[in-house]
Protein backbone atom coordinates (compact mmCIF):
# COMPACT_ATOMS: atom_id res chain seq x y z
CA UNK A 1 0.00 0.00 0.00
CA UNK A 2 1.24 3.43 -0.79
CA UNK A 3 0.04 6.43 1.15
CA UNK A 4 0.79 10.09 0.88
CA UNK A 5 2.01 11.86 3.97
CA UNK A 6 -1.39 13.49 4.37
CA UNK A 7 -3.07 10.12 4.31
CA UNK A 8 -0.50 8.86 6.79
CA UNK A 9 -1.22 11.75 9.16
CA UNK A 10 -4.93 11.07 8.94
CA UNK A 11 -4.28 7.43 9.77
CA UNK A 12 -2.08 8.40 12.72
CA UNK A 13 -4.72 10.74 14.09
CA UNK A 14 -7.30 8.02 13.78
CA UNK A 15 -4.92 5.68 15.51
CA UNK A 16 -4.33 8.00 18.44
CA UNK A 17 -8.06 8.47 18.78
CA UNK A 18 -8.56 4.73 18.79
CA UNK A 19 -10.54 4.69 15.57
CA UNK A 20 -8.36 2.17 13.72
CA UNK A 21 -9.14 -1.50 13.66
CA UNK A 22 -6.33 -3.89 14.63
CA UNK A 23 -5.70 -4.76 10.98
CA UNK A 24 -5.51 -1.07 10.05
CA UNK A 25 -3.08 -0.55 12.88
CA UNK A 26 -0.88 -3.34 11.52
CA UNK A 27 -0.98 -1.83 8.07
CA UNK A 28 0.01 1.52 9.47
CA UNK A 29 2.87 0.04 11.40
CA UNK A 30 4.09 -1.91 8.38
CA UNK A 31 3.92 1.17 6.21
CA UNK A 32 6.08 3.13 8.58
CA UNK A 33 8.45 0.22 8.88
CA UNK A 34 8.81 0.09 5.08
CA UNK A 35 9.18 3.88 4.85
CA UNK A 36 11.73 4.86 7.47
CA UNK A 37 11.45 8.55 6.57
CA UNK A 38 8.18 8.50 8.49
CA UNK A 39 9.63 6.71 11.50
CA UNK A 40 9.41 9.85 13.60
CA UNK A 41 5.65 9.39 13.62
CA UNK A 42 6.23 6.31 15.77
CA UNK A 43 6.78 8.69 18.63
CA UNK A 44 3.13 9.60 18.31
CA UNK A 45 2.20 5.98 18.26
CA UNK A 46 3.89 4.52 21.32
CA UNK A 47 1.06 2.14 21.90
CA UNK A 48 1.76 0.45 18.60
CA UNK A 49 5.29 -0.26 19.61
CA UNK A 50 4.55 -1.18 23.14
CA UNK A 51 1.40 -3.15 22.63
CA UNK A 52 2.88 -5.64 20.17
CA UNK A 53 -0.36 -6.07 18.33
CA UNK A 54 -0.71 -9.36 16.55
CA UNK A 55 -2.12 -9.41 13.08
CA UNK A 56 -5.41 -11.24 13.40
CA UNK A 57 -5.28 -12.80 9.92
CA UNK A 58 -1.80 -14.05 10.19
CA UNK A 59 -2.98 -17.62 9.62
CA UNK A 60 -4.62 -16.56 6.45
CA UNK A 61 -1.32 -15.25 5.23
CA UNK A 62 0.27 -18.64 5.78
CA UNK A 63 -2.47 -20.53 4.05
CA UNK A 64 -0.26 -20.78 0.96
CA UNK A 65 2.55 -22.47 2.73
CA UNK A 66 3.13 -25.82 1.14
CA UNK A 67 5.19 -28.85 1.88
CA UNK A 68 5.66 -30.12 -1.64
CA UNK A 69 5.08 -29.33 -5.29
CA UNK A 70 2.35 -31.56 -6.60
CA UNK A 71 3.91 -31.98 -10.02
CA UNK A 72 7.05 -33.37 -8.48
CA UNK A 73 5.50 -35.13 -5.53
CA UNK A 74 7.20 -38.35 -6.46
CA UNK A 75 10.66 -36.80 -6.23
CA UNK A 76 12.70 -36.51 -3.09
CA UNK A 77 14.46 -33.32 -4.09
CA UNK A 78 14.32 -30.11 -2.11
CA UNK A 79 11.20 -27.98 -2.13
CA UNK A 80 13.09 -24.97 -3.41
CA UNK A 81 14.30 -26.82 -6.46
CA UNK A 82 10.87 -28.15 -7.12
CA UNK A 83 9.42 -24.67 -6.82
CA UNK A 84 11.97 -23.13 -9.15
CA UNK A 85 11.77 -25.80 -11.84
CA UNK A 86 8.04 -26.00 -11.44
CA UNK A 87 7.84 -22.27 -12.01
CA UNK A 88 10.08 -22.55 -15.07
CA UNK A 89 7.93 -25.31 -16.47
CA UNK A 90 4.65 -23.67 -15.55
CA UNK A 91 3.64 -26.59 -13.40
CA UNK A 92 2.89 -24.75 -10.15
CA UNK A 93 -0.61 -24.50 -8.78
CA UNK A 94 -1.92 -21.16 -7.53
CA UNK A 95 -0.94 -21.92 -3.96
CA UNK A 96 2.46 -23.14 -5.03
CA UNK A 97 2.96 -20.02 -7.16
CA UNK A 98 2.08 -17.78 -4.21
CA UNK A 99 4.46 -19.65 -2.00
CA UNK A 100 7.09 -19.40 -4.72
CA UNK A 101 6.70 -15.60 -4.72
CA UNK A 102 7.10 -15.56 -0.96
CA UNK A 103 10.28 -17.54 -1.34
CA UNK A 104 11.54 -15.00 -3.83
CA UNK A 105 12.39 -12.68 -0.91
CA UNK A 106 15.34 -14.89 -0.14
CA UNK A 107 18.61 -14.07 -1.87
CA UNK A 108 19.71 -17.68 -1.80
CA UNK A 109 16.49 -18.70 -3.43
CA UNK A 110 16.93 -16.07 -6.15
CA UNK A 111 20.49 -17.21 -6.76
CA UNK A 112 19.34 -20.76 -7.14
CA UNK A 113 16.59 -19.64 -9.47
CA UNK A 114 19.10 -17.81 -11.65
CA UNK A 115 21.22 -20.90 -11.82
CA UNK A 116 18.28 -22.90 -12.98
CA UNK A 117 17.19 -20.26 -15.47
CA UNK A 118 20.60 -20.60 -17.07
CA UNK A 119 19.76 -24.19 -17.96
CA UNK A 120 16.97 -23.05 -20.24
CA UNK A 121 18.20 -23.69 -23.76
CA UNK A 122 18.02 -21.06 -26.42
CA UNK A 123 17.36 -21.92 -30.03
CA UNK A 124 20.55 -22.04 -31.98
CA UNK A 125 19.49 -20.23 -35.12
CA UNK A 126 22.89 -20.62 -36.65
CA UNK A 127 22.01 -24.23 -37.29
CA UNK A 128 20.09 -24.20 -40.54
CA UNK A 129 19.17 -27.06 -42.79
CA UNK A 130 20.63 -26.28 -46.18
CA UNK A 131 19.19 -29.07 -48.29
CA UNK A 132 15.56 -28.06 -48.17
CA UNK A 133 15.30 -28.00 -51.93
CA UNK A 134 16.03 -31.69 -52.04
CA UNK A 135 13.10 -32.36 -49.78
CA UNK A 136 10.57 -30.37 -51.73
CA UNK A 137 8.16 -32.11 -54.06
CA UNK A 138 6.19 -30.66 -56.90
CA UNK A 139 3.92 -33.52 -57.89
CA UNK A 140 1.48 -35.23 -55.64
CA UNK A 141 2.80 -38.52 -54.54
CA UNK A 142 -0.54 -40.11 -55.28
CA UNK A 143 -0.38 -39.17 -58.92
CA UNK A 144 3.18 -40.20 -59.39
CA UNK A 145 2.47 -43.53 -57.82
CA UNK A 146 -0.83 -43.87 -59.52
CA UNK A 147 0.77 -43.93 -62.94
CA UNK A 148 3.24 -46.47 -61.77
CA UNK A 149 0.62 -48.70 -60.21
CA UNK A 150 -1.72 -48.31 -63.11
CA UNK A 151 0.93 -49.25 -65.60
CA UNK A 152 2.07 -52.17 -63.50
CA UNK A 153 -1.48 -53.30 -62.94
CA UNK A 154 -2.31 -53.06 -66.60
CA UNK A 155 0.77 -55.02 -67.48
CA UNK A 156 -0.03 -57.69 -64.91
CA UNK A 157 -3.63 -57.99 -66.02
CA UNK A 158 -2.59 -58.13 -69.62
CA UNK A 159 -0.01 -60.74 -68.86
CA UNK A 160 -2.40 -62.93 -66.95
CA UNK A 161 -5.14 -62.49 -69.45
CA UNK A 162 -2.87 -63.28 -72.29
CA UNK A 163 -1.25 -66.33 -70.82
CA UNK A 164 -4.19 -67.86 -69.12
CA UNK A 165 -7.58 -66.64 -70.12
CA UNK A 166 -6.96 -66.14 -73.77
CA UNK A 167 -5.05 -69.32 -74.17
CA UNK A 168 -7.68 -71.38 -72.48
CA UNK A 169 -10.35 -69.82 -74.55
CA UNK A 170 -8.30 -70.22 -77.65
CA UNK A 171 -7.53 -73.83 -77.01
CA UNK A 172 -11.03 -74.69 -75.98
CA UNK A 173 -12.25 -73.22 -79.18
CA UNK A 174 -9.73 -75.12 -81.19
CA UNK A 175 -10.44 -78.30 -79.33
CA UNK A 176 -14.06 -77.92 -79.96
CA UNK A 177 -13.41 -77.32 -83.61
CA UNK A 178 -10.90 -80.07 -84.10
CA UNK A 179 -12.21 -82.50 -81.51
CA UNK A 180 -8.65 -83.34 -80.55
CA UNK A 181 -7.85 -85.68 -77.72
CA UNK A 182 -5.45 -83.48 -75.88
CA UNK A 183 -4.73 -84.36 -72.26
CA UNK A 184 -6.14 -81.26 -70.84
CA UNK A 185 -8.38 -82.73 -68.21
CA UNK A 186 -8.34 -85.67 -65.92
CA UNK A 187 -11.53 -86.99 -67.36
CA UNK A 188 -10.07 -86.83 -70.78
CA UNK A 189 -7.07 -88.75 -69.61
CA UNK A 190 -9.27 -91.33 -67.96
CA UNK A 191 -11.18 -91.74 -71.11
CA UNK A 192 -7.99 -92.07 -73.02
CA UNK A 193 -7.53 -95.55 -71.60
CA UNK A 194 -10.41 -96.67 -73.62
CA UNK A 195 -9.86 -94.99 -76.97
CA UNK A 196 -6.69 -96.84 -77.69
CA UNK A 197 -8.33 -98.00 -80.81
CA UNK A 198 -8.64 -94.50 -82.04
CA UNK A 199 -5.92 -92.86 -83.91
CA UNK A 200 -5.61 -89.30 -82.95
CA UNK A 201 -2.93 -86.82 -83.09
CA UNK A 202 -1.49 -85.83 -79.81
CA UNK A 203 -1.88 -82.20 -80.54
CA UNK A 204 -0.27 -79.50 -78.51
CA UNK A 205 -0.60 -75.84 -79.00
CA UNK A 206 1.29 -72.85 -77.92
CA UNK A 207 -0.53 -69.59 -77.49
CA UNK A 208 0.24 -68.45 -80.98
CA UNK A 209 0.70 -71.49 -83.10
CA UNK A 210 -0.19 -75.04 -83.31
CA UNK A 211 2.66 -77.33 -82.47
CA UNK A 212 2.94 -80.93 -83.27
CA UNK A 213 6.60 -81.32 -82.70
CA UNK A 214 8.15 -82.07 -79.37
CA UNK A 215 11.51 -82.34 -77.90
CA UNK A 216 11.94 -85.51 -75.93
CA UNK A 217 14.67 -85.76 -73.36
CA UNK A 218 15.91 -89.15 -72.51
CA UNK A 219 18.20 -89.80 -69.59
CA UNK A 220 21.71 -90.40 -70.52
CA UNK A 221 21.90 -93.78 -68.90
CA UNK A 222 19.00 -95.04 -70.91
CA UNK A 223 20.91 -94.53 -74.05
CA UNK A 224 24.38 -95.29 -72.86
CA UNK A 225 23.62 -98.58 -71.29
CA UNK A 226 22.48 -101.23 -73.66
CA UNK A 227 20.07 -102.66 -71.16
CA UNK A 228 18.52 -99.28 -70.59
CA UNK A 229 18.40 -98.39 -74.17
CA UNK A 230 16.00 -101.20 -74.53
CA UNK A 231 13.74 -99.19 -72.38
CA UNK A 232 13.12 -96.96 -75.27
CA UNK A 233 11.30 -99.68 -76.93
CA UNK A 234 9.66 -100.63 -73.68
CA UNK A 235 8.36 -97.23 -73.11
CA UNK A 236 5.26 -98.08 -74.95
CA UNK A 237 4.32 -100.48 -72.24
CA UNK A 238 5.65 -98.70 -69.21
CA UNK A 239 2.98 -97.34 -66.97
CA UNK A 240 3.02 -93.67 -66.38
CA UNK A 241 3.75 -92.71 -62.88
CA UNK A 242 2.97 -89.11 -63.25
CA UNK A 243 2.54 -86.37 -65.73
CA UNK A 244 3.53 -82.97 -64.53
CA UNK A 245 2.80 -79.91 -66.50
CA UNK A 246 5.07 -76.92 -66.33
CA UNK A 247 3.79 -74.26 -68.65
CA UNK A 248 5.69 -75.23 -71.75
CA UNK A 249 6.97 -78.63 -70.94
CA UNK A 250 5.67 -81.86 -69.61
CA UNK A 251 7.61 -84.08 -67.33
CA UNK A 252 6.62 -87.68 -67.56
CA UNK A 253 7.79 -90.03 -64.90
CA UNK A 254 7.64 -93.68 -65.58
CA UNK A 255 7.22 -96.41 -63.06
CA UNK A 256 10.89 -97.20 -63.47
CA UNK A 257 11.68 -93.69 -62.37
CA UNK A 258 13.05 -92.72 -65.68
CA UNK A 259 11.88 -89.36 -66.76
CA UNK A 260 11.02 -88.13 -70.13
CA UNK A 261 10.35 -84.51 -70.72
CA UNK A 262 8.51 -83.33 -73.70
CA UNK A 263 8.65 -79.73 -74.60
CA UNK A 264 7.14 -77.43 -75.52
CA UNK A 265 3.66 -78.38 -74.55
CA UNK A 266 1.00 -75.93 -73.75
CA UNK A 267 -0.95 -77.60 -71.03
CA UNK A 268 -1.39 -81.05 -69.62
CA UNK A 269 -2.67 -81.42 -66.12
CA UNK A 270 -1.12 -83.66 -63.56
CA UNK A 271 -2.49 -87.13 -63.32
CA UNK A 272 -1.80 -90.32 -61.56
CA UNK A 273 -0.38 -93.31 -63.28
CA UNK A 274 -3.35 -95.51 -63.84
CA UNK A 275 -5.01 -93.30 -66.36
CA UNK A 276 -2.62 -93.60 -69.20
CA UNK A 277 0.54 -95.18 -70.31
CA UNK A 278 3.32 -94.17 -72.52
CA UNK A 279 1.82 -96.63 -74.86
CA UNK A 280 -0.59 -93.88 -75.67
CA UNK A 281 2.22 -92.11 -77.32
CA UNK A 282 4.36 -93.22 -80.12
CA UNK A 283 7.10 -91.32 -81.75
CA UNK A 284 5.98 -90.74 -85.22
CA UNK A 285 8.76 -88.78 -86.73
CA UNK A 286 12.11 -87.64 -85.54
CA UNK A 287 13.85 -84.75 -87.18
CA UNK A 288 17.01 -84.84 -85.19
CA UNK A 289 18.61 -86.00 -82.01
CA UNK A 290 20.79 -83.69 -80.02
CA UNK A 291 23.45 -84.91 -77.66
CA UNK A 292 23.58 -81.83 -75.55
CA UNK A 293 26.98 -80.71 -74.41
CA UNK A 294 28.08 -84.23 -73.82
CA UNK A 295 30.66 -84.54 -76.47
CA UNK A 296 31.03 -88.04 -77.64
CA UNK A 297 34.24 -88.27 -79.50
CA UNK A 298 33.95 -91.91 -79.90
CA UNK A 299 32.24 -92.15 -83.22
CA UNK A 300 31.74 -95.82 -82.79
CA UNK A 301 29.84 -95.28 -79.55
CA UNK A 302 27.73 -92.62 -81.13
CA UNK A 303 26.97 -94.80 -84.07
CA UNK A 304 26.07 -97.63 -81.76
CA UNK A 305 23.76 -95.48 -79.73
CA UNK A 306 22.06 -93.87 -82.68
CA UNK A 307 21.62 -97.20 -84.34
CA UNK A 308 20.10 -98.63 -81.22
CA UNK A 309 17.72 -95.79 -80.93
CA UNK A 310 16.92 -95.98 -84.57
CA UNK A 311 16.40 -99.65 -84.38
CA UNK A 312 14.22 -99.53 -81.34
CA UNK A 313 12.23 -96.48 -82.19
CA UNK A 314 12.54 -96.00 -85.88
CA UNK A 315 13.87 -92.54 -85.24
CA UNK A 316 16.44 -90.84 -87.34
CA UNK A 317 19.15 -89.42 -85.13
CA UNK A 318 21.39 -86.48 -85.74
CA UNK A 319 24.29 -85.28 -83.66
CA UNK A 320 24.84 -81.74 -82.61
CA UNK A 321 27.66 -80.44 -80.49
CA UNK A 322 27.75 -77.57 -78.05
CA UNK A 323 24.13 -77.64 -77.16
CA UNK A 324 23.36 -75.93 -73.88
CA UNK A 325 23.28 -78.06 -70.82
CA UNK A 326 19.82 -79.01 -69.88
CA UNK A 327 19.11 -77.96 -66.30
CA UNK A 328 17.21 -81.12 -65.65
CA UNK A 329 20.40 -83.02 -66.06
CA UNK A 330 19.66 -84.82 -69.26
CA UNK A 331 22.38 -84.92 -71.72
CA UNK A 332 20.73 -86.44 -74.70
CA UNK A 333 17.86 -84.89 -76.40
CA UNK A 334 15.71 -86.41 -79.00
CA UNK A 335 14.56 -83.28 -80.61
CA UNK A 336 11.72 -82.05 -82.64
CA UNK A 337 9.63 -85.12 -82.96
CA UNK A 338 6.01 -85.57 -83.58
CA UNK A 339 3.93 -87.95 -81.60
CA UNK A 340 0.53 -89.32 -81.95
CA UNK A 341 -1.65 -91.51 -79.91
CA UNK A 342 -0.77 -95.07 -80.49
CA UNK A 343 -3.33 -97.41 -81.81
CA UNK A 344 -4.24 -100.08 -79.39
CA UNK A 345 -3.27 -102.78 -81.75
CA UNK A 346 0.23 -101.44 -82.27
Amino acid sequence: MRWTEEQLIVMIVDATEGNLSPSQQVLLYEFIAENPQFSHYLEDLPFLVQDNVDYPNKKALFKNEINDVSAYASLNDSLDEKLIIGDMEGLLTDNEATFFRLKMKSDDFIAMQNAYLATRLQKDKSIVYKNKKQLLHTEPRFNSLRYLWLSMGAAAVGFLFYFSGLNVAYNKTKLAQNNDGIYTKKTQLKSSVKPYQETKKFTVRTPKEKKEEYTVYIPKEIIEKPENSVLISRLETVQLKNIICIREEVKIETAQKHTIITSPIYRIESHSKEYASLGDLVIKKLKKVVFGNEEIDNQEQLTMITQKINHQTGLDIAYLRNEKVDESGFYFKLGAISVERKKANL
Binding site: L75, T119, L121, Q122, K125, I127, Y129
Partner: protein, 161 residues
Amino acid sequence: MTVEEYNSCVHELADSLYRFAVKTTGNKAVADDFVQDAYERLWKKVDNIEFIKAKSYLFKTVVNLQIDAVRRMKLRNTHVSSTSSPIVEQGAPFDLKIKLDEGIRQLSDVQKNCLLLRDYEGYSYQEIAEILAISEDQVKVNIFRARKFLKSFIGNIEVLV
Protein backbone atom coordinates in the same frame (compact mmCIF):
# COMPACT_ATOMS: atom_id res chain seq x y z
CA MET B 1 -1.81 -33.58 -46.49
CA THR B 2 -1.35 -31.85 -49.80
CA VAL B 3 1.89 -31.29 -51.59
CA GLU B 4 1.75 -27.61 -50.65
CA GLU B 5 1.33 -28.52 -47.01
CA TYR B 6 4.17 -30.97 -47.24
CA ASN B 7 6.39 -28.31 -48.77
CA SER B 8 5.42 -25.85 -46.09
CA CYS B 9 6.48 -28.48 -43.57
CA VAL B 10 9.86 -28.45 -45.24
CA HIS B 11 10.12 -24.69 -45.11
CA GLU B 12 8.88 -24.30 -41.57
CA LEU B 13 10.15 -27.38 -39.81
CA ALA B 14 13.32 -28.49 -41.53
CA ASP B 15 15.49 -26.09 -39.56
CA SER B 16 13.93 -27.03 -36.24
CA LEU B 17 14.14 -30.69 -37.04
CA TYR B 18 17.72 -30.39 -38.15
CA ARG B 19 18.62 -28.37 -35.06
CA PHE B 20 17.00 -30.96 -32.86
CA ALA B 21 18.79 -33.76 -34.67
CA VAL B 22 22.12 -31.96 -34.45
CA LYS B 23 21.70 -31.43 -30.74
CA THR B 24 20.58 -34.95 -30.01
CA THR B 25 23.16 -36.69 -32.15
CA GLY B 26 25.91 -34.11 -31.92
CA ASN B 27 26.77 -34.91 -35.50
CA LYS B 28 25.66 -32.77 -38.42
CA ALA B 29 26.10 -35.44 -41.05
CA VAL B 30 24.03 -37.91 -39.08
CA ALA B 31 21.48 -35.20 -38.39
CA ASP B 32 21.26 -34.47 -42.10
CA ASP B 33 20.55 -38.12 -42.79
CA PHE B 34 17.91 -38.20 -40.09
CA VAL B 35 16.14 -35.18 -41.50
CA GLN B 36 16.16 -36.62 -44.99
CA ASP B 37 14.89 -39.95 -43.74
CA ALA B 38 12.17 -38.28 -41.72
CA TYR B 39 10.92 -36.28 -44.68
CA GLU B 40 11.17 -39.27 -46.93
CA ARG B 41 8.97 -41.22 -44.58
CA LEU B 42 6.60 -38.31 -44.32
CA TRP B 43 6.37 -38.15 -48.08
CA LYS B 44 5.60 -41.85 -48.31
CA LYS B 45 2.72 -41.34 -45.92
CA VAL B 46 1.74 -37.93 -47.14
CA ASP B 47 -1.75 -39.13 -47.99
CA ASN B 48 -2.35 -40.53 -44.54
CA ILE B 49 -0.85 -37.90 -42.24
CA GLU B 50 -2.70 -34.75 -41.36
CA PHE B 51 -0.86 -31.49 -41.71
CA ILE B 52 -1.26 -30.61 -38.05
CA LYS B 53 0.37 -33.87 -37.04
CA ALA B 54 3.27 -33.59 -39.45
CA LYS B 55 5.54 -31.81 -36.98
CA SER B 56 4.95 -34.42 -34.33
CA TYR B 57 5.47 -37.18 -36.87
CA LEU B 58 8.76 -35.70 -38.05
CA PHE B 59 10.18 -35.31 -34.57
CA LYS B 60 8.98 -38.73 -33.61
CA THR B 61 10.68 -40.18 -36.65
CA VAL B 62 13.95 -38.45 -35.83
CA VAL B 63 13.77 -39.73 -32.27
CA ASN B 64 13.18 -43.24 -33.52
CA LEU B 65 16.01 -42.94 -35.98
CA GLN B 66 18.22 -41.76 -33.19
CA ILE B 67 17.23 -44.70 -31.04
CA ASP B 68 17.96 -47.08 -33.89
CA ALA B 69 21.30 -45.42 -34.50
CA VAL B 70 22.24 -45.60 -30.87
CA ARG B 71 21.36 -49.26 -30.78
CA ARG B 72 23.52 -49.89 -33.79
CA MET B 73 26.33 -47.84 -32.33
CA LYS B 74 26.09 -49.63 -29.03
CA LEU B 75 26.56 -52.84 -30.90
CA ARG B 76 29.77 -51.35 -32.19
CA ASN B 77 30.60 -50.14 -28.69
CA THR B 78 30.47 -46.46 -29.57
CA HIS B 79 27.87 -43.75 -29.25
CA VAL B 80 26.59 -41.41 -31.89
CA SER B 81 27.28 -38.28 -29.98
CA SER B 82 30.50 -39.51 -28.50
CA THR B 83 32.07 -39.68 -31.93
CA SER B 84 31.11 -36.17 -32.87
CA SER B 85 32.53 -32.77 -32.25
CA PRO B 86 30.75 -30.67 -29.64
CA ILE B 87 28.02 -28.38 -30.90
CA VAL B 88 28.18 -25.05 -29.14
CA GLU B 89 24.97 -23.65 -27.76
CA GLN B 90 24.27 -20.33 -29.41
CA GLY B 91 22.55 -17.32 -27.88
CA ALA B 92 24.19 -17.60 -24.48
CA PRO B 93 27.54 -16.37 -23.13
CA PHE B 94 30.35 -18.34 -24.68
CA ASP B 95 31.57 -20.12 -21.57
CA LEU B 96 28.06 -20.95 -20.60
CA LYS B 97 27.35 -22.19 -24.12
CA ILE B 98 30.26 -24.56 -24.02
CA LYS B 99 29.41 -25.72 -20.57
CA LEU B 100 25.78 -26.21 -21.42
CA ASP B 101 26.65 -28.09 -24.55
CA GLU B 102 28.91 -30.40 -22.64
CA GLY B 103 26.20 -30.87 -20.08
CA ILE B 104 23.59 -31.65 -22.70
CA ARG B 105 25.79 -34.26 -24.26
CA GLN B 106 26.15 -35.96 -20.92
CA LEU B 107 22.43 -36.22 -20.40
CA SER B 108 20.71 -39.49 -21.10
CA ASP B 109 18.99 -39.68 -24.46
CA VAL B 110 15.54 -39.44 -22.96
CA GLN B 111 16.43 -36.46 -20.80
CA LYS B 112 18.13 -34.78 -23.72
CA ASN B 113 15.17 -35.33 -26.02
CA CYS B 114 12.70 -34.13 -23.42
CA LEU B 115 14.67 -30.98 -22.71
CA LEU B 116 15.32 -30.14 -26.35
CA LEU B 117 11.73 -30.69 -27.38
CA ARG B 118 10.62 -28.58 -24.45
CA ASP B 119 13.02 -25.68 -24.81
CA TYR B 120 13.58 -25.62 -28.55
CA GLU B 121 10.16 -26.49 -29.83
CA GLY B 122 8.02 -25.50 -26.90
CA TYR B 123 6.19 -28.79 -26.93
CA SER B 124 3.75 -29.50 -24.16
CA TYR B 125 4.37 -32.39 -21.85
CA GLN B 126 1.62 -34.33 -23.54
CA GLU B 127 3.16 -33.81 -26.96
CA ILE B 128 6.61 -34.77 -25.75
CA ALA B 129 5.18 -37.85 -24.13
CA GLU B 130 3.53 -38.77 -27.40
CA ILE B 131 6.66 -38.22 -29.45
CA LEU B 132 8.92 -40.12 -27.11
CA ALA B 133 6.35 -42.78 -26.29
CA ILE B 134 6.62 -42.27 -22.56
CA SER B 135 4.21 -40.99 -19.92
CA GLU B 136 3.75 -37.32 -19.05
CA ASP B 137 5.03 -37.96 -15.56
CA GLN B 138 8.17 -39.41 -17.02
CA VAL B 139 8.56 -36.30 -19.15
CA LYS B 140 8.25 -34.09 -16.06
CA VAL B 141 10.74 -36.12 -14.13
CA ASN B 142 13.19 -36.29 -17.01
CA ILE B 143 13.11 -32.55 -17.54
CA PHE B 144 13.47 -31.97 -13.81
CA ARG B 145 16.44 -34.29 -13.67
CA ALA B 146 17.95 -32.75 -16.77
CA ARG B 147 17.71 -29.22 -15.40
CA LYS B 148 19.06 -30.28 -12.07
CA PHE B 149 21.97 -32.01 -13.73
CA LEU B 150 22.71 -29.03 -15.96
CA LYS B 151 22.50 -26.67 -13.04
CA SER B 152 24.98 -28.68 -11.06
CA PHE B 153 27.09 -29.21 -14.17
CA ILE B 154 27.49 -25.58 -15.07
CA GLY B 155 28.25 -24.86 -11.42
CA ASN B 156 28.65 -21.28 -10.36
CA ILE B 157 26.95 -19.29 -13.05
CA GLU B 158 28.50 -16.02 -11.97
CA VAL B 159 31.96 -17.44 -12.57
CA LEU B 160 30.97 -18.59 -16.01
CA VAL B 161 29.21 -15.41 -17.05
